[in-house]
Point group: D2
Chain length 305, copies 4
Amino acid sequence: MKTVLKGIVPPMITPLNDLDTLDVEGLERLVEHILAGGVSGLFILGTTGEFSNISYRLRYELVERVCRQVKGRVPVLVGITDTSLVESINLTKKAAEEGAAAVVAAPPYYYAAGQPELIEYYQTLAGKLPLPLYLYNMPVHTKVMIEPKTVRKIAEHPNVIGLKDSSANAVYFRLVQYIMRDKPEFELFMGPEEITADAVLLGANGGVNGGANMFPKLYVDMYNAAAAKDFDKLKALQDKIMQISSSIYTVGKFGSSYLKGVKCALSLMGICNDYMPEPFNRFQDEERAKIRQSLEALNMGLTLK
Amino acid sequence: MKTVLKGIVPPMITPLNDLDTLDVEGLERLVEHILAGGVSGLFILGTTGEFSNISYRLRYELVERVCRQVKGRVPVLVGITDTSLVESINLTKKAAEEGAAAVVAAPPYYYAAGQPELIEYYQTLAGKLPLPLYLYNMPVHTKVMIEPKTVRKIAEHPNVIGLKDSSANAVYFRLVQYIMRDKPEFELFMGPEEITADAVLLGANGGVNGGANMFPKLYVDMYNAAAAKDFDKLKALQDKIMQISSSIYTVGKFGSSYLKGVKCALSLMGICNDYMPEPFNRFQDEERAKIRQSLEALNMGLTLK
Amino acid sequence: MKTVLKGIVPPMITPLNDLDTLDVEGLERLVEHILAGGVSGLFILGTTGEFSNISYRLRYELVERVCRQVKGRVPVLVGITDTSLVESINLTKKAAEEGAAAVVAAPPYYYAAGQPELIEYYQTLAGKLPLPLYLYNMPVHTKVMIEPKTVRKIAEHPNVIGLKDSSANAVYFRLVQYIMRDKPEFELFMGPEEITADAVLLGANGGVNGGANMFPKLYVDMYNAAAAKDFDKLKALQDKIMQISSSIYTVGKFGSSYLKGVKCALSLMGICNDYMPEPFNRFQDEERAKIRQSLEALNMGLTLK
Amino acid sequence: MKTVLKGIVPPMITPLNDLDTLDVEGLERLVEHILAGGVSGLFILGTTGEFSNISYRLRYELVERVCRQVKGRVPVLVGITDTSLVESINLTKKAAEEGAAAVVAAPPYYYAAGQPELIEYYQTLAGKLPLPLYLYNMPVHTKVMIEPKTVRKIAEHPNVIGLKDSSANAVYFRLVQYIMRDKPEFELFMGPEEITADAVLLGANGGVNGGANMFPKLYVDMYNAAAAKDFDKLKALQDKIMQISSSIYTVGKFGSSYLKGVKCALSLMGICNDYMPEPFNRFQDEERAKIRQSLEALNMGLTLK
């Protein structure tokens, strides 16, 4: 992991057959489907991976299976976000044993920590981890922003190598980029796919885009067009990405629409099971029909189940 | 647990020597100190117990030690709040084995669930638990209110026996009380100690008051005075409780002032260690001096270390 | 206004015929209806009075008409909440000319001010007003709490005589009460009617309850029972108030349900027009039928239109 | 105003000598200073113009003076954001009389309206205005987002010609752009200057950037470089803009740092008075020294007072 990571690193969903059982065959298909799209890495146990809703036993099994299947073809990043430092460290040990390249941690998310507490938290965490660490800014779930000055301070630790921002606040993203301008090796990834092109055009490393579970090549192409400043090519790709965001992610109610949409689409595409652990539920017939329609409207030559 | 619980059920802090080690002797002293105050129950692994910041291994050890020490003198309630249903169920099994009386669960706290999702979540949870369940409304940490109509719906499950409200929103509390008026056996506990007397005067079951870690008898006396509608006695007790709230809980910055204040006070009182796991830190000399001063100003005849 | 105000001070709704025209006859009926209930004062141009949604011209007309009609039978309090200090001062001058007893101001509500800014704002305001001033804590609309220490500091100004709290946060109310304990003449009023009894039992001055537009005597009776600690009488009154809150205030969607419910009920009771200025709209047939049903279910002997 | 507006439209600050008096000479200098930078329009009485904190009399005077001075050299846009529809309409009449080109309105900001209420509010407003209307998304102050579907619906009214977004949420901006893709004449302006280049690169009309009060040409150059996709030129301009944002806007505490910084800088540059109406206060010596240092560090050849 000495080389700098660039491009699309999909936050993989977690295929399940029931509350505590992986959909092993679906998982294998999904990993190959994503890698075939030309992605630069794979991020498991993130928000899109429903890390918080599955048991620790299952998290460990997932790390093991994915690392062994990927076998170094791309770097695997493992989400270790937790409210307990001990559990984050334990999971990182497992990730290191299995050959993961790095770990990713959002702030502890029950108590909302103050900025000085975040600095200490991340510096302590970084000091205890056998793998490099990406910060993960995700205020809608964690209730705190990792403020630009806080990022700067935490990044003094040599083990902290980058940040993934899922705040959708582009001013924040630019402020972090500016405050880190004398550390160009510090990697900046954009979460929301709708604004990954924007971020890359002005210098971000790439995107951690959930839609790449379904259409990895589309997002890789978008990244390449943005990195090459090929606006003609970019326009059509960006439009397709906006169409996905405006249709597949907007079917249900509540904050989980995006997640349910992606899982439902992967099920319709015959890749994996769309079971969701509590407190969520997979889409039922009515919503599933809408997702089917949205997928067909994309005109991407899909064969749906 | 067929009889209805009434009175003060302190949410016990978790005495630690370091990140993953209980302060065993401090814990034993603390349990006896609290029980000696005449409390009606003991609630472990709640927000005040920093449940989310300690490892699962340690949570299990704590359940075991506390249940064995209490030995049925009062009912032990165990917090099972988790983002993973599987982990909540596993911890409840342990609690049942050790003789705990009931469990307590706030909504899953990473993704904010919608109200229909909460209903399903709690009904599923209640159906899988070997112990009765209290709902725990804690919106500042979980980002959602368990709305009165949602409480009503969830409470149709026979395994759901009450609610602890820590929202500080007294209108919410009265609305829940009103919507549950035809189920008088449904137990309603108030979290914040500043308004437990108010709640009890108009019919609540009691308080889950953090200050009762330090001064269990004070809170028990307050409960008894409120239950007896003895306003003369209540006035002095309420003033003392407000003095505690306005001094010991306001020393630090950030949301954790209350927690740090209680732990620091218990350390000064010679009861247990005030170590705090990340992302928090115990008070240093300057704040500790202020807590000492505040304790002395209470004139409660304490001998401080 | 040297004597201390106690009891129920209804926040009067503003009867309108259209966007910029008072329902003059309805207004006259409403004022007499409310005064007949034995209230201790009348508060116009508050949140319930939709002060912010009507023109300045109309606000001045309302002050004039109400003060002249009330003619000193009870003190009239005028809401002067504004984002512009100049407009607050101008309206106060009018209120003073017309014989109003005091004014009431929530924090400026476009920019959210910091606590030190609030202190300066209120001290400056108080210094420029020809009438005594009540603070008005209304965080859901103004985005800031007037923190207890801030209240304490502002209240050093002799022109600041009390606070109305509509936060529903009872811990906040008790903390303000405690921090002001050496100034017993500082008046504390509770906004939400569901918890006015609670507040009065432990020492508040009274309630500024919207339901008193419809049923002034019910709220006055509740206040008297609470002040007299007559729990038997209080129980039935409190139940009726909770029934109103759980039925009439919950018909529509969005935050304005309460307001629409009260106006619709007054229209059904034949007292005044229920026109609402933008961005709100009066209830249509379906909701109106539900309000009618709710009113009938109260069994209060009403004759509905 | 039939032609489409593109480029930089500075949200002008309001120069004041005291609470209710314009700094007339400063105002004249400021207008000429901004126009000399090659801006495409001038937006008065926006958030940066502290519209909400000044009296209506002063708002009318400002509209009159600015329109008469600008004399059609660029279109003048007038902020009419208000909680009262009547006041918004009245101010628009004045703006039309004085020759303003359009008006700009954020949602009413005391009560937070629901999305259906917003649709009705804006359609009613648009129907009563003698000038075209821009929507203004400003959730930090108004507590509501004008959701993309709501924008789409409101924009069916022929009088609604564009939107200014100050949410900093770039996903929102892209979703609005996408949902309006079949109405390319609908104008989209970005508020935050840190991300105006991003927005323009992928098709926005321009920026409403507060920094253009100080350095209008810098922002115009940035717009032109972004519109021309001249990344080499853009890089240096964007860096300068980020330096301004990271220094001049971060001196004070609270949300008003940006505003205080801009006003203080303009005072140091000898352009106008930095008086601020309540609840704000101009920077004192210590902060002023920091702003001076920040201005000097920009190396833009300024002569400071």
